[in-house]
Protein backbone atom coordinates (compact mmCIF):
# COMPACT_ATOMS: atom_id res chain seq x y z
CA UNK A 1 0.00 0.00 0.00
CA UNK A 2 1.56 3.27 -1.08
CA UNK A 3 0.98 6.57 0.72
CA UNK A 4 -0.88 9.41 -1.00
CA UNK A 5 1.39 11.47 -3.23
CA UNK A 6 0.93 15.21 -3.65
CA UNK A 7 -0.01 16.09 -7.20
CA UNK A 8 -0.72 19.80 -6.77
CA UNK A 9 0.41 21.77 -3.75
CA UNK A 10 -0.95 25.07 -2.49
CA UNK A 11 0.95 27.24 -5.02
CA UNK A 12 0.25 24.88 -7.92
CA UNK A 13 -3.44 25.05 -7.18
CA UNK A 14 -3.43 28.85 -7.08
CA UNK A 15 -1.50 29.13 -10.37
CA UNK A 16 -3.76 26.57 -11.98
CA UNK A 17 -6.92 28.43 -11.04
CA UNK A 18 -5.43 31.74 -12.24
CA UNK A 19 -4.64 30.09 -15.59
CA UNK A 20 -8.16 28.65 -15.87
CA UNK A 21 -9.63 32.07 -15.09
CA UNK A 22 -7.58 33.61 -17.93
CA UNK A 23 -8.59 30.84 -20.33
CA UNK A 24 -12.26 31.27 -19.52
CA UNK A 25 -12.08 34.97 -20.32
CA UNK A 26 -10.00 34.43 -23.48
CA UNK A 27 -12.42 31.86 -24.80
CA UNK A 28 -15.47 34.03 -24.10
CA UNK A 29 -14.62 37.53 -25.31
CA UNK A 30 -18.25 38.66 -25.15
CA UNK A 31 -18.13 38.23 -21.36
CA UNK A 32 -21.69 36.86 -21.16
CA UNK A 33 -20.65 34.02 -18.88
CA UNK A 34 -21.71 32.66 -15.53
CA UNK A 35 -19.86 30.27 -13.25
CA UNK A 36 -21.78 27.36 -11.77
CA UNK A 37 -20.06 25.20 -9.18
CA UNK A 38 -21.13 21.68 -8.29
CA UNK A 39 -21.51 21.13 -4.54
CA UNK A 40 -19.41 20.92 -2.55
CA UNK A 41 -15.77 21.32 -3.64
CA UNK A 42 -16.71 22.43 -7.13
CA UNK A 43 -18.76 25.20 -5.54
CA UNK A 44 -15.75 26.42 -3.56
CA UNK A 45 -13.54 26.33 -6.66
CA UNK A 46 -16.21 28.27 -8.57
CA UNK A 47 -16.12 30.90 -5.82
CA UNK A 48 -12.38 31.30 -6.31
CA UNK A 49 -12.70 31.47 -10.09
CA UNK A 50 -15.40 34.06 -9.54
CA UNK A 51 -12.98 36.22 -7.54
CA UNK A 52 -10.20 35.72 -10.10
CA UNK A 53 -12.33 36.49 -13.15
CA UNK A 54 -13.77 39.45 -11.26
CA UNK A 55 -10.24 40.89 -10.96
CA UNK A 56 -9.64 40.47 -14.69
CA UNK A 57 -12.97 41.88 -15.83
CA UNK A 58 -14.42 45.17 -14.68
CA UNK A 59 -17.61 43.59 -13.42
CA UNK A 60 -17.89 40.23 -11.69
CA UNK A 61 -19.73 37.49 -13.56
CA UNK A 62 -22.80 35.81 -12.03
CA UNK A 63 -22.03 32.89 -9.74
CA UNK A 64 -24.31 29.96 -8.99
CA UNK A 65 -24.26 26.55 -7.39
CA UNK A 66 -25.97 23.29 -8.20
CA UNK A 67 -26.60 20.30 -6.02
CA UNK A 68 -27.10 17.34 -8.30
CA UNK A 69 -28.59 14.99 -5.69
CA UNK A 70 -32.04 14.97 -7.29
CA UNK A 71 -30.50 14.25 -10.71
CA UNK A 72 -28.16 11.41 -9.83
CA UNK A 73 -28.53 8.27 -11.93
CA UNK A 74 -27.79 6.03 -8.94
CA UNK A 75 -30.61 7.18 -6.64
CA UNK A 76 -32.32 3.80 -6.79
CA UNK A 77 -29.18 1.80 -5.97
CA UNK A 78 -27.75 3.90 -3.12
CA UNK A 79 -28.30 2.77 0.45
CA UNK A 80 -29.97 6.04 1.42
CA UNK A 81 -31.00 9.43 0.13
CA UNK A 82 -28.04 11.78 -0.26
CA UNK A 83 -28.03 14.91 1.89
CA UNK A 84 -28.83 17.83 -0.36
CA UNK A 85 -27.32 21.30 -0.46
CA UNK A 86 -28.83 24.42 -1.93
CA UNK A 87 -29.07 24.87 -5.64
CA UNK A 88 -28.75 28.57 -6.26
CA UNK A 89 -29.08 29.92 -9.78
CA UNK A 90 -30.68 33.29 -9.26
CA UNK A 91 -29.68 34.93 -12.53
CA UNK A 92 -31.16 34.43 -16.00
CA UNK A 93 -29.61 31.43 -17.73
CA UNK A 94 -31.09 32.13 -21.16
CA UNK A 95 -28.54 33.15 -23.77
CA UNK A 96 -25.58 32.97 -21.36
CA UNK A 97 -22.50 30.78 -21.49
CA UNK A 98 -22.55 28.61 -18.41
CA UNK A 99 -19.20 27.37 -17.14
CA UNK A 100 -19.74 24.35 -14.90
CA UNK A 101 -16.96 23.95 -12.33
CA UNK A 102 -16.08 20.71 -10.57
CA UNK A 103 -13.05 19.45 -8.70
CA UNK A 104 -12.48 16.06 -10.33
CA UNK A 105 -13.72 14.93 -13.74
CA UNK A 106 -14.05 11.14 -13.71
CA UNK A 107 -16.93 9.18 -15.25
CA UNK A 108 -18.78 12.30 -16.43
CA UNK A 109 -22.01 11.26 -14.69
CA UNK A 110 -21.94 14.17 -12.25
CA UNK A 111 -21.48 16.61 -15.13
CA UNK A 112 -24.36 15.01 -17.03
CA UNK A 113 -26.60 15.54 -13.99
CA UNK A 114 -25.43 19.16 -13.60
CA UNK A 115 -26.12 19.91 -17.27
CA UNK A 116 -29.62 18.46 -16.91
CA UNK A 117 -30.26 20.60 -13.86
CA UNK A 118 -29.03 23.81 -15.53
CA UNK A 119 -31.43 23.20 -18.41
CA UNK A 120 -34.34 23.05 -15.97
CA UNK A 121 -33.64 26.70 -15.24
CA UNK A 122 -33.57 27.89 -18.82
CA UNK A 123 -31.79 27.62 -22.15
CA UNK A 124 -28.13 28.59 -21.98
CA UNK A 125 -26.32 29.65 -25.17
CA UNK A 126 -23.48 27.25 -24.43
CA UNK A 127 -22.28 25.06 -21.58
CA UNK A 128 -18.58 24.68 -20.86
CA UNK A 129 -16.79 22.59 -18.28
CA UNK A 130 -13.87 23.45 -16.01
CA UNK A 131 -12.28 20.77 -13.84
CA UNK A 132 -9.30 21.06 -11.54
CA UNK A 133 -8.30 17.47 -12.27
CA UNK A 134 -9.20 15.22 -15.17
CA UNK A 135 -8.49 11.65 -14.15
CA UNK A 136 -9.92 9.89 -17.19
CA UNK A 137 -12.19 6.80 -17.24
CA UNK A 138 -15.11 8.61 -18.86
CA UNK A 139 -18.36 6.64 -19.18
CA UNK A 140 -20.17 9.36 -21.15
CA UNK A 141 -19.23 11.48 -24.18
CA UNK A 142 -18.23 14.48 -22.06
CA UNK A 143 -15.00 16.49 -22.35
CA UNK A 144 -13.68 19.44 -20.35
CA UNK A 145 -13.01 22.87 -21.85
CA UNK A 146 -10.61 23.88 -19.09
CA UNK A 147 -8.43 21.43 -17.21
CA UNK A 148 -6.16 22.18 -14.28
CA UNK A 149 -4.22 18.95 -14.54
CA UNK A 150 -4.50 15.80 -16.59
CA UNK A 151 -3.85 12.97 -14.22
CA UNK A 152 -3.76 9.45 -15.64
CA UNK A 153 -5.04 7.16 -12.90
CA UNK A 154 -6.11 3.60 -12.39
CA UNK A 155 -9.62 2.98 -11.13
CA UNK A 156 -8.14 1.57 -7.94
CA UNK A 157 -6.73 4.98 -7.10
CA UNK A 158 -8.45 7.91 -5.52
CA UNK A 159 -7.93 11.59 -6.26
CA UNK A 160 -8.36 13.71 -3.11
CA UNK A 161 -8.95 17.41 -3.59
CA UNK A 162 -8.45 19.35 -0.37
CA UNK A 163 -9.60 22.95 -0.15
CA UNK A 164 -8.83 25.38 2.63
CA UNK A 165 -12.48 26.11 3.43
CA UNK A 166 -13.32 22.48 4.21
CA UNK A 167 -10.03 20.71 4.83
CA UNK A 168 -7.73 23.43 6.17
CA UNK A 169 -5.30 23.26 3.23
CA UNK A 170 -5.16 23.49 -0.56
CA UNK A 171 -3.77 20.31 -2.02
CA UNK A 172 -4.49 17.56 -4.52
CA UNK A 173 -3.20 14.10 -3.71
CA UNK A 174 -3.37 10.72 -5.38
CA UNK A 175 -3.75 7.75 -3.11
CA UNK A 176 -5.20 4.27 -2.87
CA UNK A 177 -8.98 3.85 -2.84
CA UNK A 178 -10.55 3.82 0.64
CA UNK A 179 -11.66 0.20 0.58
CA UNK A 180 -8.05 -0.82 -0.12
CA UNK A 181 -6.90 1.25 2.80
CA UNK A 182 -9.28 -0.61 5.07
CA UNK A 183 -8.02 -4.00 3.89
Amino acid sequence: MQAATVVLDHDDMRRTLVRIAHEIIEKNPDGAIALVGIHRRGALLAQRLHALTGELLDTPVPLGFVDISFYRDDLAIRPSAPIVHATQLDFPIDGRTIVIVDDVLYTGRTVRAAVDEVFDYGRPARVQLAALVDRGHRELPIRPDYVGKNLPTSQQERVNVHVKELDGRDEVTLGPAPQQRAA
Binding site: F70, Y71, L75, P79, I83, D120
Partner: protein, 309 residues
Protein backbone atom coordinates in the same frame (compact mmCIF):
# COMPACT_ATOMS: atom_id res chain seq x y z
CA UNK B 1 -33.66 6.65 13.75
CA UNK B 2 -32.56 9.71 11.80
CA UNK B 3 -33.59 8.09 8.59
CA UNK B 4 -37.26 8.12 7.80
CA UNK B 5 -38.91 4.89 6.87
CA UNK B 6 -39.98 2.43 5.79
CA UNK B 7 -43.37 4.13 6.39
CA UNK B 8 -44.62 7.41 7.78
CA UNK B 9 -47.63 6.52 9.91
CA UNK B 10 -47.07 8.69 12.96
CA UNK B 11 -44.77 11.50 14.04
CA UNK B 12 -43.50 8.86 16.47
CA UNK B 13 -41.70 7.34 13.47
CA UNK B 14 -39.31 10.31 13.65
CA UNK B 15 -36.96 11.66 16.28
CA UNK B 16 -35.88 15.28 16.34
CA UNK B 17 -32.93 14.72 13.99
CA UNK B 18 -35.26 12.93 11.59
CA UNK B 19 -37.73 15.82 11.61
CA UNK B 20 -34.91 18.32 11.06
CA UNK B 21 -33.63 16.30 8.14
CA UNK B 22 -37.04 16.28 6.45
CA UNK B 23 -37.37 20.04 7.00
CA UNK B 24 -33.85 20.67 5.63
CA UNK B 25 -34.65 18.63 2.53
CA UNK B 26 -37.93 20.51 2.18
CA UNK B 27 -35.98 23.79 2.07
CA UNK B 28 -34.20 22.51 -1.04
CA UNK B 29 -37.49 21.46 -2.60
CA UNK B 30 -39.01 24.85 -1.86
CA UNK B 31 -36.37 26.18 -4.24
CA UNK B 32 -37.45 23.72 -6.96
CA UNK B 33 -40.95 25.22 -6.87
CA UNK B 34 -39.45 28.59 -7.81
CA UNK B 35 -37.81 27.31 -10.99
CA UNK B 36 -38.97 27.70 -14.54
CA UNK B 37 -39.29 23.91 -14.78
CA UNK B 38 -40.64 22.86 -11.40
CA UNK B 39 -39.50 19.31 -11.68
CA UNK B 40 -36.56 17.13 -10.74
CA UNK B 41 -36.02 13.56 -11.94
CA UNK B 42 -35.44 11.96 -8.52
CA UNK B 43 -38.39 9.52 -8.69
CA UNK B 44 -38.48 9.00 -12.45
CA UNK B 45 -40.11 5.71 -13.37
CA UNK B 46 -41.66 5.10 -9.95
CA UNK B 47 -45.34 5.13 -9.13
CA UNK B 48 -47.17 6.84 -6.27
CA UNK B 49 -50.78 5.95 -5.49
CA UNK B 50 -52.95 8.45 -3.63
CA UNK B 51 -55.89 6.73 -1.98
CA UNK B 52 -58.36 9.17 -0.45
CA UNK B 53 -61.37 7.83 1.44
CA UNK B 54 -62.24 11.24 2.78
CA UNK B 55 -62.73 14.73 1.37
CA UNK B 56 -59.52 16.68 0.87
CA UNK B 57 -58.34 19.60 -1.23
CA UNK B 58 -54.97 20.65 0.16
CA UNK B 59 -53.53 17.32 1.17
CA UNK B 60 -54.54 15.41 -1.96
CA UNK B 61 -53.53 18.14 -4.40
CA UNK B 62 -50.21 18.79 -2.69
CA UNK B 63 -49.32 15.09 -2.53
CA UNK B 64 -50.16 14.78 -6.20
CA UNK B 65 -48.08 17.83 -7.14
CA UNK B 66 -45.24 16.71 -4.88
CA UNK B 67 -45.03 13.32 -6.57
CA UNK B 68 -45.28 14.87 -10.04
CA UNK B 69 -42.55 17.41 -9.31
CA UNK B 70 -40.33 14.47 -8.40
CA UNK B 71 -41.17 12.97 -11.83
CA UNK B 72 -43.08 10.01 -10.38
CA UNK B 73 -46.17 8.64 -12.10
CA UNK B 74 -49.22 9.36 -9.99
CA UNK B 75 -52.55 7.59 -9.69
CA UNK B 76 -55.10 9.38 -7.53
CA UNK B 77 -58.15 7.50 -6.35
CA UNK B 78 -61.01 8.93 -4.42
CA UNK B 79 -63.50 6.63 -2.78
CA UNK B 80 -66.39 8.31 -4.59
CA UNK B 81 -66.53 7.01 -8.14
CA UNK B 82 -64.19 4.07 -7.50
CA UNK B 83 -64.90 0.43 -6.77
CA UNK B 84 -65.15 1.41 -3.11
CA UNK B 85 -68.63 2.58 -4.11
CA UNK B 86 -69.30 -0.98 -5.20
CA UNK B 87 -68.36 -2.29 -1.78
CA UNK B 88 -64.73 -3.24 -2.28
CA UNK B 89 -62.94 -3.47 1.05
CA UNK B 90 -59.86 -1.44 1.93
CA UNK B 91 -57.75 -4.58 1.95
CA UNK B 92 -58.88 -5.69 -1.50
CA UNK B 93 -58.40 -2.19 -2.89
CA UNK B 94 -54.88 -1.96 -1.51
CA UNK B 95 -53.94 -5.40 -2.78
CA UNK B 96 -55.35 -4.60 -6.22
CA UNK B 97 -53.39 -1.36 -6.39
CA UNK B 98 -50.26 -3.09 -5.12
CA UNK B 99 -50.36 -5.20 -8.27
CA UNK B 100 -49.22 -2.07 -10.12
CA UNK B 101 -46.06 -2.16 -8.02
CA UNK B 102 -46.26 1.35 -6.57
CA UNK B 103 -43.28 2.73 -4.64
CA UNK B 104 -45.61 4.49 -2.23
CA UNK B 105 -49.26 4.51 -1.20
CA UNK B 106 -50.58 7.71 0.35
CA UNK B 107 -53.72 6.98 2.34
CA UNK B 108 -56.37 9.22 3.88
CA UNK B 109 -59.11 7.41 5.78
CA UNK B 110 -61.85 8.29 8.26
CA UNK B 111 -60.73 5.39 10.44
CA UNK B 112 -57.88 5.60 12.94
CA UNK B 113 -55.26 2.96 12.29
CA UNK B 114 -56.07 2.54 8.59
CA UNK B 115 -52.58 3.52 7.46
CA UNK B 116 -51.00 1.05 9.85
CA UNK B 117 -53.22 -1.72 8.48
CA UNK B 118 -52.41 -0.81 4.88
CA UNK B 119 -48.69 -1.04 5.68
CA UNK B 120 -49.24 -4.71 6.50
CA UNK B 121 -50.93 -5.44 3.19
CA UNK B 122 -48.52 -3.95 0.68
CA UNK B 123 -44.79 -3.92 -0.02
CA UNK B 124 -45.03 -0.20 -0.86
CA UNK B 125 -44.01 2.58 1.51
CA UNK B 126 -47.17 3.85 3.22
CA UNK B 127 -47.69 7.51 4.06
CA UNK B 128 -50.49 8.43 6.43
CA UNK B 129 -52.34 11.45 5.02
CA UNK B 130 -54.76 11.48 7.93
CA UNK B 131 -56.45 8.53 9.62
CA UNK B 132 -59.59 9.45 11.51
CA UNK B 133 -58.86 11.13 14.82
CA UNK B 134 -55.42 9.57 15.07
CA UNK B 135 -52.66 11.39 13.19
CA UNK B 136 -51.79 13.55 10.23
CA UNK B 137 -47.99 13.56 10.28
CA UNK B 138 -47.27 15.47 7.06
CA UNK B 139 -49.49 18.33 8.28
CA UNK B 140 -47.43 18.55 11.47
CA UNK B 141 -44.21 18.51 9.43
CA UNK B 142 -45.36 21.32 7.19
CA UNK B 143 -46.49 23.32 10.22
CA UNK B 144 -43.08 22.81 11.84
CA UNK B 145 -41.49 23.84 8.53
CA UNK B 146 -43.60 27.01 8.32
CA UNK B 147 -42.85 27.95 11.91
CA UNK B 148 -39.16 27.18 11.69
CA UNK B 149 -38.91 29.40 8.62
CA UNK B 150 -40.62 32.25 10.43
CA UNK B 151 -39.05 31.89 13.89
CA UNK B 152 -35.66 30.41 12.96
CA UNK B 153 -36.00 27.73 15.62
CA UNK B 154 -38.83 26.24 17.65
CA UNK B 155 -36.95 25.80 20.91
CA UNK B 156 -38.78 27.61 23.67
CA UNK B 157 -41.65 28.75 21.43
CA UNK B 158 -45.00 28.71 23.24
CA UNK B 159 -47.73 27.30 21.06
CA UNK B 160 -51.43 27.27 21.88
CA UNK B 161 -53.63 24.85 19.99
CA UNK B 162 -57.18 26.15 20.26
CA UNK B 163 -60.49 24.50 19.44
CA UNK B 164 -61.77 21.01 18.73
CA UNK B 165 -58.79 19.03 20.05
CA UNK B 166 -60.88 15.91 20.65
CA UNK B 167 -61.57 15.20 16.99
CA UNK B 168 -58.28 16.54 15.70
CA UNK B 169 -55.58 14.34 14.22
CA UNK B 170 -53.75 17.56 13.37
CA UNK B 171 -53.57 18.44 17.07
CA UNK B 172 -52.17 15.04 18.00
CA UNK B 173 -49.46 15.07 15.34
CA UNK B 174 -48.60 18.68 16.06
CA UNK B 175 -48.27 18.17 19.81
CA UNK B 176 -45.79 15.36 19.14
CA UNK B 177 -43.84 17.19 16.44
CA UNK B 178 -43.69 20.62 18.03
CA UNK B 179 -42.68 19.24 21.42
CA UNK B 180 -39.99 17.15 19.80
CA UNK B 181 -38.68 20.33 18.18
CA UNK B 182 -38.37 22.00 21.58
CA UNK B 183 -41.60 24.03 21.72
CA UNK B 184 -44.06 23.97 24.61
CA UNK B 185 -47.67 23.26 23.74
CA UNK B 186 -50.92 24.19 25.48
CA UNK B 187 -54.23 22.92 24.18
CA UNK B 188 -57.32 25.03 24.79
CA UNK B 189 -61.02 24.54 24.16
CA UNK B 190 -64.32 23.68 25.80
CA UNK B 191 -63.86 20.83 28.32
CA UNK B 192 -66.04 18.58 26.15
CA UNK B 193 -63.59 18.96 23.25
CA UNK B 194 -60.37 18.37 25.23
CA UNK B 195 -59.57 14.65 25.47
CA UNK B 196 -59.10 13.33 28.97
CA UNK B 197 -55.43 12.71 29.84
CA UNK B 198 -54.19 14.81 26.91
CA UNK B 199 -51.39 15.89 29.30
CA UNK B 200 -49.90 12.44 28.76
CA UNK B 201 -48.68 13.77 25.39
CA UNK B 202 -46.62 16.35 27.27
CA UNK B 203 -48.80 19.42 26.83
CA UNK B 204 -50.80 21.67 29.15
CA UNK B 205 -54.55 22.10 28.93
CA UNK B 206 -56.68 25.23 29.38
CA UNK B 207 -60.42 25.76 29.11
CA UNK B 208 -60.46 29.52 28.64
CA UNK B 209 -58.59 31.97 26.44
CA UNK B 210 -57.62 34.07 29.51
CA UNK B 211 -53.92 33.23 29.20
CA UNK B 212 -53.85 33.30 25.39
CA UNK B 213 -51.54 36.34 25.51
CA UNK B 214 -48.75 34.00 26.72
CA UNK B 215 -48.64 32.28 23.36
CA UNK B 216 -46.14 33.06 20.62
CA UNK B 217 -48.21 31.09 18.14
CA UNK B 218 -51.96 30.53 18.15
CA UNK B 219 -52.82 27.40 16.20
CA UNK B 220 -56.57 27.27 15.61
CA UNK B 221 -58.29 23.98 14.80
CA UNK B 222 -61.31 23.48 12.63
CA UNK B 223 -64.58 22.59 14.32
CA UNK B 224 -64.99 19.12 12.85
CA UNK B 225 -68.72 19.23 12.46
CA UNK B 226 -68.68 16.10 10.30
CA UNK B 227 -67.20 14.04 13.14
CA UNK B 228 -69.62 15.29 15.82
CA UNK B 229 -72.43 12.86 16.43
CA UNK B 230 -73.36 14.32 19.84
CA UNK B 231 -73.66 17.91 20.93
CA UNK B 232 -70.26 18.83 22.27
CA UNK B 233 -71.02 22.54 22.46
CA UNK B 234 -74.35 24.22 23.30
CA UNK B 235 -74.32 26.00 19.96
CA UNK B 236 -71.80 27.20 17.41
CA UNK B 237 -72.73 30.78 18.31
CA UNK B 238 -71.86 30.12 21.92
CA UNK B 239 -68.62 28.44 20.88
CA UNK B 240 -67.71 31.43 18.70
CA UNK B 241 -68.46 33.85 21.52
CA UNK B 242 -66.05 32.12 23.90
CA UNK B 243 -63.36 30.59 21.69
CA UNK B 244 -63.37 32.27 18.30
CA UNK B 245 -59.97 33.81 17.53
CA UNK B 246 -60.48 37.34 16.28
CA UNK B 247 -57.95 40.00 15.39
CA UNK B 248 -58.92 41.69 18.67
CA UNK B 249 -58.08 38.62 20.76
CA UNK B 250 -54.62 38.28 19.19
CA UNK B 251 -51.77 40.13 20.82
CA UNK B 252 -49.56 42.07 18.38
CA UNK B 253 -46.67 39.85 17.31
CA UNK B 254 -48.53 36.59 17.84
CA UNK B 255 -48.59 34.30 14.83
CA UNK B 256 -51.80 32.65 13.70
CA UNK B 257 -52.06 29.24 12.04
CA UNK B 258 -54.87 27.00 10.87
CA UNK B 259 -54.66 23.70 8.98
CA UNK B 260 -57.65 24.55 6.76
CA UNK B 261 -60.32 24.40 5.62
CA UNK B 262 -61.53 27.30 7.77
CA UNK B 263 -65.08 27.62 9.02
CA UNK B 264 -65.18 31.40 8.66
CA UNK B 265 -66.99 33.02 11.55
CA UNK B 266 -66.85 29.92 13.78
CA UNK B 267 -63.32 29.16 14.98
CA UNK B 268 -61.76 32.13 13.19
CA UNK B 269 -63.10 35.55 12.34
CA UNK B 270 -62.59 37.01 8.89
CA UNK B 271 -60.41 39.84 10.19
CA UNK B 272 -58.07 37.33 11.85
CA UNK B 273 -57.79 35.22 8.69
CA UNK B 274 -56.89 38.25 6.62
CA UNK B 275 -54.53 39.82 9.18
CA UNK B 276 -50.81 39.85 8.45
CA UNK B 277 -50.25 37.73 11.55
CA UNK B 278 -51.81 34.77 9.75
CA UNK B 279 -49.45 32.15 8.25
CA UNK B 280 -52.28 30.15 6.69
CA UNK B 281 -51.09 30.84 3.13
CA UNK B 282 -47.51 29.92 4.06
CA UNK B 283 -48.76 26.62 5.46
CA UNK B 284 -50.44 25.72 2.18
CA UNK B 285 -47.35 26.69 0.21
CA UNK B 286 -45.14 24.57 2.47
CA UNK B 287 -47.32 21.54 1.75
CA UNK B 288 -45.79 20.67 -1.60
CA UNK B 289 -42.15 21.10 -0.55
CA UNK B 290 -42.58 19.13 2.67
CA UNK B 291 -44.42 16.29 0.94
CA UNK B 292 -41.72 16.18 -1.74
CA UNK B 293 -39.19 15.84 1.07
CA UNK B 294 -41.15 13.00 2.69
CA UNK B 295 -41.48 11.11 -0.61
CA UNK B 296 -37.81 11.70 -1.39
CA UNK B 297 -36.56 10.55 2.01
CA UNK B 298 -38.81 7.48 1.99
CA UNK B 299 -38.33 6.36 -1.59
CA UNK B 300 -34.82 7.29 -2.62
CA UNK B 301 -32.25 4.68 -1.84
CA UNK B 302 -32.56 0.96 -1.94
CA UNK B 303 -34.37 -0.63 1.00
CA UNK B 304 -32.18 -3.71 0.62
CA UNK B 305 -28.96 -1.72 0.86
CA UNK B 306 -30.35 0.36 3.72
CA UNK B 307 -31.05 -2.80 5.69
CA UNK B 308 -27.44 -3.88 5.21
CA UNK B 309 -25.94 -0.48 6.02
Amino acid sequence: MTRLGPHLISIDDLDRAGIERVLDTAERFAEVSGREIKKVPALRGRTVVNLFYEASTRTSSSFELAAKRLSADVVSIRSAGSSVDKGESLKDTVQTLSAYDPAAIVIRSPHAGAAQLVAGWTPAAVINAGDGKHEHPTQALLDAFTLRRRLGRLDGARIWIVGDVLHSRVARSNILALRRMGASVTVCGPPTLIPRDIEALGCDAAVTLDRLHEADVVYVLRMQLERMRDSFVPSLREYAARYQITAGRLRPGQLLMHPGPVNRGIELSADAIDSDQALIGDQVKAGVAVRMAVLYELLVGSPVLAAVA
